[in-house]
Subunit: 408 residues, 2 copies
Amino acid sequence: MTDISPLAPESFPDIPSIPGVQMAAGACGVRYSGKLDVLLVKLAEGTEVAGVFTKSQTAAAPIDWCKQSLSNGKARALVVNSGNANAFNGVAGIASVERTANQASEVVSCASEDVFIASTGVIGEALPDNKITDALSGLSENLGTDWQAAGDAICTTDTYAKGAFRKVKIGETEVTIGGIAKGSGMIAPDMATMLAFVFTDAAIPQSVLQPLLSKSADKSFNSITVDSDTSTSDTVLLFATGQAEHQAIVSAVDAPLQDFKVALDEVMLDLAQQVVRDGEGATKFVEIKVSGAADDKAARTIGLAIANSPLVKTAIAGEDANWGRIVMAVGKSGEKADRDKMGISIGGVEIAATGQAVEGYDEAPVADHMKGQEIDIAVDVGIGQGEATVWTCDLTHGYITINADYRT
Amino acid sequence: MTDISPLAPESFPDIPSIPGVQMAAGACGVRYSGKLDVLLVKLAEGTEVAGVFTKSQTAAAPIDWCKQSLSNGKARALVVNSGNANAFNGVAGIASVERTANQASEVVSCASEDVFIASTGVIGEALPDNKITDALSGLSENLGTDWQAAGDAICTTDTYAKGAFRKVKIGETEVTIGGIAKGSGMIAPDMATMLAFVFTDAAIPQSVLQPLLSKSADKSFNSITVDSDTSTSDTVLLFATGQAEHQAIVSAVDAPLQDFKVALDEVMLDLAQQVVRDGEGATKFVEIKVSGAADDKAARTIGLAIANSPLVKTAIAGEDANWGRIVMAVGKSGEKADRDKMGISIGGVEIAATGQAVEGYDEAPVADHMKGQEIDIAVDVGIGQGEATVWTCDLTHGYITINADYRT
């Protein structure tokens, strides 16, 4: 593991235990010896689950499995390994998933279709699933609430474990939402990004949980990018153990659920932003607010075009407020923009308006802002009312160094 | 100018003079003093012209002008400057173009709508067009056939001037096709890329010239990428002076035109590949052949997804045959692919087939191939008969270095 990202949070959060959620992490040598690389989470009977997955046409075998398992909306176990994505392994990959699910179903005493599986790491190498299945029995005897170990076990090129939680009330009953995520490179979500697992003791049926998660993912994991590359393994799963005793929830618009939705969005966004802050080689965290687009979807597309532009990202790395490259990126997004009404602000200073540079704008505060670690860009494209915010990081020599010799 | 790209051709080609085409390049200090930065080309009366332009929503002012000028299909002059793209300059940018066109029309004695204008360089800074207009009269008195100076005058971050030519017969009459291009970064064409100007003494009406150019651009400039960023100034213009005396051409399917079409495609592809070979920071030239796609357009989309993937490009820079990243890029392209039928070859060695690694394939020749400067990748996605070839370069520390301090 390389040095911890300069954008990392100060420490891993003190996620409380969540009734119905027990976990254990182990080092079984999937790829590196001694690194925590397998996670078993045992979930209480009655746990409901929602998921969003990569739209990749070359999705990994565990994605197919999870989509299938999701159809009955119940979950009893989650097994995650890092070091090997079990992607592009053909029939052998599918068999690996089945063996893992079968072994997990034995150690937690449930049906194998209630087991969820995720793998992250190198693509196209056979998964030594025997190392994982051999470890599961031991893990099941050591279940606890070590969230940080769980976060560590799912990391690959990540430089720190990512966790977040909120406590919130449903009616008079306090519930907890806690989760972990991993991701650093190959981050340009399409439906979801990399791996994130969020747990709550709230009692929410799958029919409500799924739309909550999908909507929340759009505003968080689907609004971040590190390098425009979409993983074959992107998975976000939300488990609700139902251990909290609050009034019954039957619809996403139920009044008692409103605070929960806000808290869920906060946990999801917190985790998503932690992924960006661990972007490979990142030295700056960039927030891009787009307004004036044809609609919100168009705004997000424009935001991601800016966030994915290598020229914008290298300019930020060079602490250069090169807004001409932002204009270029807006133009290539394919969405409508009125060149002659566009405006751009960096660090709160308006530097372009009505399609041209603001004459005599003060470059000094902008230059200072560019030297910081948190960069704010706002773009109005002069068409309509569509708005979106996306997050990314800069593109540095560190990214090249990490990725020119990851596999070898 | 940095060191010449290691992928550059040995020398600038010896482009012959083309009847009806005269040119002069000058150093007028648009951005840097002493660098050739303005080009005037005078075209014989009766010259027909075809063009393809960037689809950017924030296209530069000269693009609007050229599209307008193209409507009558005639051309008498071309003025190109480097150092400033005259993009995102609002009304002032439009006025700059008009003043330049008016002055050019005076010095070559033609209507201003028969003048074509292109600008390349920094975005969002006012164009000092007086430097250009002041220079035009002197240039018009020194017209000649110095193609290399013309090629130099349109360069920005390019490390070498790009030219190509072919001689070919239409019926019994020999004609010449010669052209120049510029481009190094911000290369991900959409309709056309950066600047390329191709000239011929053939007599071909605009109604035939335009479809020839559009089709040729699809297979050349629209099939290359350096960094996925689409310029605001992309322009390809094809001028036919009509000085050659061959049988009349009335349709693109005329038999005497078939060799000309092949030669035009060759010149266009030669220029396009020279742009890739001058990709910012490039150390390897990469050809990606995609087969088995739903159709040819899908194949090109898949090819460009591979060619634009930072993870694929950094792996190539690291001389790592990391084909898992190719699988990932195919998956994110959005086009159909059958994961379990896909095959991948690198340097002619099949390393993945039917959706998994070829057991025991010989890594040694692949590793040798990756150490070379010319990398061949072939991917079959197992769906249909669609095929395409695209070209790109690797992503290196050089790209970061160049782009983290271009403007400042």
